[in-house]
């Protein structure tokens, strides 16, 4: 600081507010551009369950389909996609065509979240059934253990029942081809 004149020194000192404001402004700009690009969403929540084994549960099936439990997921050798869905949720209905094409690549295990078996059957009858196994979480308590905050949410379970990927939004064509399927390929090999 010694080789600056007193005026320059004062000017540098008084540019602190400017520098602070510029920093904040730049971050806001970054947030806004990332928000438009879809890479940043201030609503998104971290998933603490990621890379951990699935939480303990046993769920009854929606007859005639068979329910499943955490033990079964832990004994799997191939990846499985677990999907929480409900007949009362519109995005779940929109997601169905994607799921129907996805079932050709890996098994989909569904969990009907806070739903009645009758409505679930009706729903799947109308939209087509992509699920190999179908369990029901009538009171949504298992969903809480998984940390879901709504439906649909999907989890990719790798060997040993480890959660490898979590998608808190409806699956789209784009997420399926660009994120999910490459990941499935990677963990299967």
């Amino acid at each position: 600081m010694t080789h600056f004149s007193p005026l320059t020194r004062r000017r540098l000192l008084m540019s602190i507010p400017l520098i602070g404001a510029m920093g904040i402004g730049f971050s806001f700009w970054k947030m806004l551009t990332d928000m438009s690009a879809g890479t940043f969403n201030s609503h998104d929540i971290n998933t603490p369950i990621l890379n951990r084994p699935v939480p303990y549960f046993t769920l009854p099936g929606v007859i005639p389909q068979q329910g499943f439990s955490s033990t079964e997921l832990k004994h799997l050798n191939t990846p499985v996609l677990v999907i929480f869905f409900a007949s009362w949720c519109i995005p779940c209905l929109e997601e169905m065509p994607i799921l129907l094409s996805l079932k050709n690549f890996l098994p989909l295990w569904g969990i009907a979240y806070k739903d009645s078996p009758y409505n679930v059957k009706e729903f799947l009858h109308n939209s087509g059934n992509p699920f190999t196994r179908l369990a029901e979480d009538r009171h949504g308590l298992v969903g809480i253990d998984w940390g879901i905050s709504g439906v649909p949410e999907s989890f990719l379970i790798g060997a040993g029942g480890i959660i490898r990927w979590h998608n808190p939004n409806p699956l789209t064509e784009e997420t399926m081809t660009h994120i999910l399927l490459p990941l499935v390929k990677k963990i299967s090999s």
Partner: protein, 160 residues
Amino acid sequence: MKFSTLFKTIFVVLCILFPFSLLAVDDPEEMLPNPKAEARAEAIGEQLRCLVCQNESIEDSSSALARDLRKIVREHVAQGESNQHIINWMVQRYGAFIRLRPAFSSSTLLLWSVPFLAPFIGCFIAYFFYYRHKKTLPPHAPLTQEEKKRLNILIKDTHS
């Protein structure tokens, strides 16, 4: 209830309406019979964020998820678990996001230090600008004739 952009907008609107339009705790049966335990459950619930709606605690929200979480909090309270234990249970499932009062950690260090740092920085700046040069300044010159005149006018103006 995860929505695409369009649905998100609708959802925000719903979120505005429903928590307010209905009562948060709208079922008296939800409350614990023991008032002390109920007060403790409320205190814990106020620390936990409703994940579906913005900036509301689960005690204030009437979304279905908040209701479930309230119920769980009350079950745990009835079992006599400690507050910290219950909050940890929630954090394990929903992450740090659920805590309305963030835990003290390396990433929240700045957040928690601001209330302590800010007054000190303020005092430092005040000292730096207003007291440091104190000794170097010459004493005040007495008023000039013109200044005295102005002062008299000002005083007169005040008393008129």
